[in-house]
């Protein structure tokens, strides 16, 4: 009988306000899979979500149990119905998997995950990135995607090349204008229900989301954060670890249910303006001070100083201001989310968004924990890379010094975090011509590393410091020292079994270039091959800048004698 089921398509009445951009939604739920396990709540999710979105003024198309063809047809029809400036909302409840960093949504007729058939399975599934691209083509200004599905990799144990372990690569950064809510974190399962006695017609994630969607005045990112905390708590009651994730590519917050009160005009249009808005919203001395630390000469600096002077003096974080344990947990989760997003933008080459996210995290750390906290030091550490990515090296060094100061107070001067940050600072000192200061710092660093037992991250950091020192030695014209430091860095990573990391590719390619500069072309070529092997093992794309340079160097070869 189930074979006779066809996709049931329901279209709800259009209730969008005529004065606003149209709000259109596509809601898909699949319970009755042909081969993979059936679900109980996915259709309940689709029905309840359609009803909720209809209340919120969306014109909703609901598709139940579609096979791949029907799924694609539904996407295409939905895309054609959208116009530039519209708001698009897509909800999927069903099975999902994550393979090679791709989130795949499984239609009703998906084949079984047979080993060796990974490519076939992927072609039979709906690739979320492709779906998002298709919706983006419509010109819809705001695109919200809710994926209530697992993100596990069924081929995680495979020895097939190109498939990573269970942790996955994580999602690609969403395109500008897209906001993605996942019911589970990377490589996690999503709960269909809270056990056999769970009578709620919707899944654990969707039931919580439904309650939050019509919160007046709440932005979609605030909704996502609230839902994450609540779902994680619910899942933990039955021993599951489900931590919903979201990825924010919106250029500004989007509110599904506006509050009645008119919003005060906000500064907008730049990273600094967004940071200022955020600091002003938080309204604390720490937030404004952190804004000024980032933008001491910015357009909004005077306004920030004025706002700061209007605050009552409170140089010390009072007990009242200290977040309780639950809030602290929530803030730390938010910080991690911001850093994850920042690195996604970094990997995607969007350095402005990378800096924006890292700056927001630093403001949040300052406002929540104070500027002498470990969280603020961590946030400053993140700012080093973010500032560097846009060429603000002086700001990067200032952030580095902040982190060193705090880590040293909290953990002593031989802590790995301190050493790592000193290596960051030394590399930038060297790059800006402060050779003597950099040399002294590197010497101190290597002495400190040599006296410490190192494991894992420590070994990788030691190797990174050696590599930076090797580059400085090259700049000073000391080839033998450069070769010595670089080969030591390579040896450390190899002994630690870290040859499948991108860091190995970096370090090995540095040694290769030093060898080549010293006229040892054959040895350099061999080292470039090892660097490429590391990049490949780390699953870095061949088009990635460093990997592409390594491949180009290999291709050059050595001149024949």
């Amino acid at each position: 009988m189930r074979r006779g089921l066809i996709a049931l398509v329901l279209t709800w009445a259009i209730a969008a306000s005529p004065v606003q951009a149209a709000r259109l939604a596509l809601v898909i739920g699949i319970n009755h899979y042909d081969l993979v396990p059936p679900l109980q709540k996915a259709i309940g999710d689709a029905t309840a979500m359609s009803s909720k979105l209809n209340e919120l003024g969306f014109a909703v198309t609901t598709v139940i149990d579609p096979d791949r063809r029907q799924f694609n047809q539904a996407i295409e029809t939905f895309r054609e119905s959208l116009h530039a400036g519209d708001v698009a909302f897509v909800h999927f409840s069903g099975h999902g998997i994550e393979v090679d960093g791709r989130n795949l949504l499984l239609p009703r007729d998906i084949p079984l995950p047979i080993s060796g058939d990974e490519t076939y399975l992927a072609t039979e599934a709906i690739d979320l990135s492709s779906l998002m691209d298709r919706i983006a083509e419509s010109g819809a200004a705001v695109r919200i995607f809710v994926i209530d599905a697992c993100r596990t990799n069924p081929f995680a144990q495979s020895d097939i090349r190109g498939l990573e372990g269970p942790g996955g690569l994580g999602p690609a950064a969403p395109s500008r204008g897209s906001f993605v809510l996942y019911s589970a974190g990377t490589s996690q399962v999503a709960l269909d229900r809270l056990g056999p006695d769970d009578q709620n017609p919707t899944s654990v994630y969707t039931r919580v989301l439904l309650d939050k969607l019509d919160l007046k005045g709440a932005s979609i990112s605030e909704v996502a954060r609230d839902v994450r905390t609540e779902v994680a708590a619910l899942a933990s009651t039955i021993g599951y670890d489900q931590s919903p994730a979201y990825y924010d590519g919106l250029t500004e917050d989007y509110v599904l249910t506006p509050s009645a009160a008119a919003n005060a005009p906000e500064a907008s249009g730049s990273v600094e303006a967004e940071a200022f808005d955020r600091a002003r919203e938080l309204g604390t001395a720490h937030a404004l001070q952190a804004f000024l630390a980032n933008y001491p000469n910015g357009v909004f600096a005077d306004l920030a100083r004025a706002a700061l002077s209007d605050l009552p003096p409170s140089p010390v974080l009072s007990a009242k201001d200290t977040p309780d344990a639950v809030e602290a947990f929530s803030v730390k989760q938010r910080l991690q989310q911001l850093w994850d997003e920042a690195h996604q933008f970094e990997n995607a080459g969007d350095n402005a968004s990378y800096l924006q996210r890292a700056s927001e995290a630093r403001l949040l750390a300052a406002a929540s924990f104070g500027t002498d906290s470990e969280a603020y030091a961590d946030a400053s550490n993140q700012m080093v890379g973010a500032f560097s990515s846009v060429g603000q090296v002086a700001d990067a060094m200032a952030a580095s010094r902040d982190a060193i100061r705090i880590y040293t107070v909290l953990f002593g001067d031989h802590d790995l975090r301190v050493l790592n940050e000193k290596a960051n600072l030394a590399a930038r000192l060297a790059a800006t011509g402060k050779v003597d200061e950099a040399t002294k710092m590197f010497d101190d660093l290597l002495t400190a590393y040599d006296t410490m037992p190192l494991h894992g991250d420590g070994e990788a950091q030691y190797a990174a410091a050696l590599e930076s020192y090797a580059q400085l030695a090259m700049r000073k014209g000391d080839g033998p020292a450069a070769e010595r430091y670089a080969s030591r860095a390579v040896a450390i990573l190899e002994a630690a079994g870290l040859t499948d990391q991108i860091e190995y590719g970096w370090v090995a390619s540095t040694e290769a270039r030093i060898l080549r500069a010293d006229g040892k072309c054959e040895a350099a070529q061999a080292m470039f091959v090892r660097a490429a092997s590391g990049m490949k093992a780390a699953q870095v794309a061949e088009t990635q800048h460093d990997y592409a340079n390594i491949l180009a160097d290999i291709k050059k070869g050595c001149p024949s004698l």
Partner: protein, 128 residues
């Protein structure tokens, strides 16, 4: 790719699901190894060659396997996924044994041990 389930398998599957959820009726049926079976279980053995082979080669395991199948079907996974890859060997086992396929569909993760048990009992090498 030849992954489609034959119609006959679906029919057998439907009959197995029915027999598994129907009230158990104890019968005097017994395997050559002396394992007492309900009539539903005896029907299941007829439709599942891996189980009937087990009755001959490893009767001591048969009761354990039957109990596991019943438990898996009665306790479907709460998760929306948890799919794990199947080998060609697993796939053949599931195609030819509708009760095992139903157990897998109910709880894929928890079925891994069951499939391993049956493979090893049939003379295969353990994978773990």
């Amino acid at each position: 790719m030849g992954r489609r389930v034959r119609k006959s398998v679906w029919i057998a599957l439907a009959s197995i699901v029915f027999t598994l959820v129907a009230p158990g009726t104890v019968s005097a049926d017994a395997t050559p190894g002396g394992v007492a079976l309900s009539s539903a279980e005896a029907t299941m053995l007829e439709a599942n060659p891996a189980l009937s082979a087990l009755a001959t080669t490893s009767p001591q395991l048969l009761r354990q396997v039957l109990d596991r199948i019943a438990k898996l079907i009665a306790n479907p996974s709460d998760a929306r996924g948890g799919l794990q890859q199947l080998t060609e060997e697993d796939w053949k086992l599931l195609q030819q044994n509708p009760a095992l396929f139903q157990a897998w569909r109910s709880s894929p993760e928890a079925s891994a041990d069951l499939l391993e048990l049956i493979r090893v009992a049939a003379g295969g090498k353990p994978r773990k």
